[in-house]
């Protein structure tokens, strides 16, 4: 990464493309991207891949409960990762759980991103009292640990997929708003913005068509890492019993359901869902970290 080209702000596509190409070649990034691809593809192809549907009570039997990995059921199926206390195949449960985790992470990040971008842009362009007020709110939210705010909120409003997404959005939008405002502020001073205003374009048009596309880089890098932290947050909340309901078990809830059997040595109920979770979070964090270093003008 000694190429002086990346010192320049990466608004040009050829440069951006070159950085991404170089980034993709690094083994750690390549590995992470392949892992993420596998996770997303299995999430999409799910019903045809899983041995059974963990939501369908008739597809599994209590006769098979807590079988170790590799064991066979009484009707001859092989449970690669064992079964849980209800006789569910862990591999199928993990595949379905991964879908819940991924869905919650992506939706909440997307919503938080949109809110954060709008708030940050508004603050930067309007300025004055509105900016002060918005940024005070942002500072207030960022002043507390995410887990605490989300935990207490869910304790008050109850569990559910929609409520978890709501809680994650509440704790995360402020991150994007802060970054968006600071990049948009420096973009605002540039000549092309002045030119756009002089051409008589409306404020929203300049905000969304001119300033926003040029200040997205930083926000999007943060978004990669924030997906990971959204997934972690959901898993943690579900583990603590205030997250998703038992009818839609995410990876965190699967880990929690195996906790009681850990002491008797039946580790696979908790262990494998956690491995899947770790793989997902680690890959996202790794890609986010490499992306950040590659796009950081200070590190050249």
């Amino acid at each position: 990464m000694s190429d002086p080209a990346i010192i320049q702000p990466i608004t040009d596509t050829p440069q951006r493309r070159a950085i991404l190409r170089r980034l993709r070649r690094r083994p750690s990034v390549k590995g992470s991207l392949i892992a993420l691809l596998i996770i997303v593809v299995t999430g999409l192809l799910l019903p045809s891949l899983a041995l059974q549907n963990p939501y369908d009570l008739s597809s599994f039997s209590v006769m098979d409960s807590r079988l170790p990995p590799g064991a066979e059921s009484f009707d001859g199926q092989v449970f690669l990762l064992g079964t849980d206390q209800q006789g569910r195949d862990m591999l199928s449960a993990i595949l379905y759980g991964m879908r819940v985790s991924l869905m919650v992470g992506l939706i909440s990040t997307a919503v938080a991103l949109v809110i954060g971008i709008c708030v940050g842009l508004t603050a930067a362009v309007l300025g004055g009292r509105i900016e002060t007020l918005l940024m005070r709110i942002v500072d207030f939210i960022l002043g507390f640990p995410t887990i605490l705010v989300a935990l207490v909120m869910l304790a008050m409003i109850g569990r559910g997929v929609d409520k978890v997404i709501f809680a994650i959005v509440v704790v995360q939008w402020a991150n994007y708003a802060r970054i968006m405002r600071s990049t948009a502020l420096s973009e605002r001073r540039k000549e092309y913005v002045e030119a756009a205003f002089n051409l008589g374009y409306s404020r929203p048009r300049v905000m969304f068509r001119h300033i926003m596309p040029n200040s997205l880089n930083a926000v999007l890098v943060v978004a990669t890492v924030q997906i990971a932290s959204a997934i972690t947050l959901e898993a943690t909340l579900s583990f603590l019993g205030v997250g998703v309901p038992v009818t839609e078990p995410s990876l965190g809830l699967l880990v929690a359901s195996g906790f009681d059997y850990l002491m008797s040595g039946d580790y696979w109920i908790s262990f494998y869902p956690g491995v899947a979770l770790l793989l997902l979070i680690f890959s996202l964090n790794l890609v986010g970290d490499r992306l950040r270093t590659a796009l950081d003008p200070k590190r050249s």
Binding site: L148, V152, L240, G241, A256, F259, F271, L277, L278
Partner: protein, 325 residues
């Protein structure tokens, strides 16, 4: 300086008021406060008495003032489950949590700072890159699962350490502490490691970033040109300069670890405030939840205030007049 302190104090009071309004609204607006704050097993007469005492027959603004007045007098309600004042219940669990958090922070700095220093001074080498990637893994592992793996390996398989509880405690000035007995220390080990791991990663990254930037500064070049020995440069010049952000982060982390210890305490059945919070949420013991939020917010705001003042005192470059704007 005095002006700055006053200003920051006012800001902190503002934050506390905002949180009290938010909590008040959450309790009083989301559901029926009578159901939330009065035990479902209370008799009709008790209910009437409680409604009168909490002022629930008054208009909203006056209810808030009563709530605030009671809170300022340390009256944050009575636990349904334990029948004790919620505040004293939480305060009695505080030493366990603080012990865990302080030990985790100590461990994180003792391991993280030397490794981070080495990484920063050997920037770009294979070893330092491996440590940096490893540190990403360190903060990626979900805390609850990591705790369970620790229990599985160290308690279930190897049978080296106990999996839950606080063990034997010794009262010091009336505060029960675990780390002074062997049994307590054995109980403390796993929860502390579990809580410390993400912070070790954080300390490594923070120290490494600071050190790798500091090596290229002029004062290091001059010291080298002067013939100062390498060890002395690292210790007297580099470390001293990068210590300020580290101390700041350690302070802030103290607050956030109190919140994060909730997870670790749940996994290891550590009898601290976090475990109490989770149990209270399960048992719908709202007064304890409300009291926890207000108390932890208070601690949080106080710690941040303290960190800011320390920062201002430590770093002569911090121009207080600038920070005020």
């Amino acid at each position: 300086m005095l002006l700055y302190i006053m200003q920051r104090l006012m800001q902190s009071i503002g934050v506390l008021l905002a949180v009290s309004v938010a909590v008040f609204l959450a309790v009083y607006a989301v559901g029926n406060p009578v159901d939330l704050l009065i035990s479902p097993e209370a008799t009709q007469a008790e209910r009437q008495q409680m409604i009168a005492r909490l002022g629930l027959d008054q208009p909203v603004w006056s209810q808030y003032l009563t709530f605030l007045w009671n809170a300022l007098h340390g009256d944050l309600g009575t636990s349904f489950v334990h029948g004790q004042p919620a505040l004293s219940l939480i305060v009695s669990r505080m030493p366990a949590t603080f012990e865990l958090v302080v030990c985790a922070l100590l461990l994180a700095s003792l391991i993280g700072i030397p490794i981070g220093l080495w990484v920063g001074l050997n920037d770009g080498s294979f070893g330092s890159r491996a440590v940096m990637t490893g540190s990403i893994l360190g903060y990626s592992i979900p805390s609850f699962w990591k705790g369970m793996v620790l229990i599985l390996v160290l308690a279930v398989w190897l049978n080296w350490l106990p999996a839950s509880g606080r063990g034997e405690t010794v009262p010091v000035l009336g505060i029960p502490l675990s780390f002074l007995t062997l049994d307590g220390l054995r109980h403390l080990t796993m929860p502390v490691i579990n809580l410390a791991i993400p912070n070790i990663a954080l300390m490594i990254r923070l120290t490494a970033a600071g050190a790798s930037e500091a090596v290229h500064q002029d004062y290091v070049k001059f010291a080298r040109a002067k013939g100062v020995r390498n060890q002395r440069i690292v210790r007297r010049h580099i470390l001293r300069n990068i210590l300020i952000p580290i101390v700041t982060v350690l302070g802030v982390e103290f607050g956030s670890l109190i919140a994060f210890s909730t997870i670790t305490e749940t996994v290891f059945a550590w009898p601290g405030m976090g475990k109490l919070l989770i149990t209270s949420i399960y048992q719908l013991d709202r007064p304890v939840v409300v009291a926890y939020v207000l108390l932890v917010t208070f601690i949080f705001v106080m710690v941040n205030l303290l960190v800011d003042f320390t920062y201002a005192a430590l770093d002569p470059r911090v121009k207080l007049t600038e920070r005020m704007s």
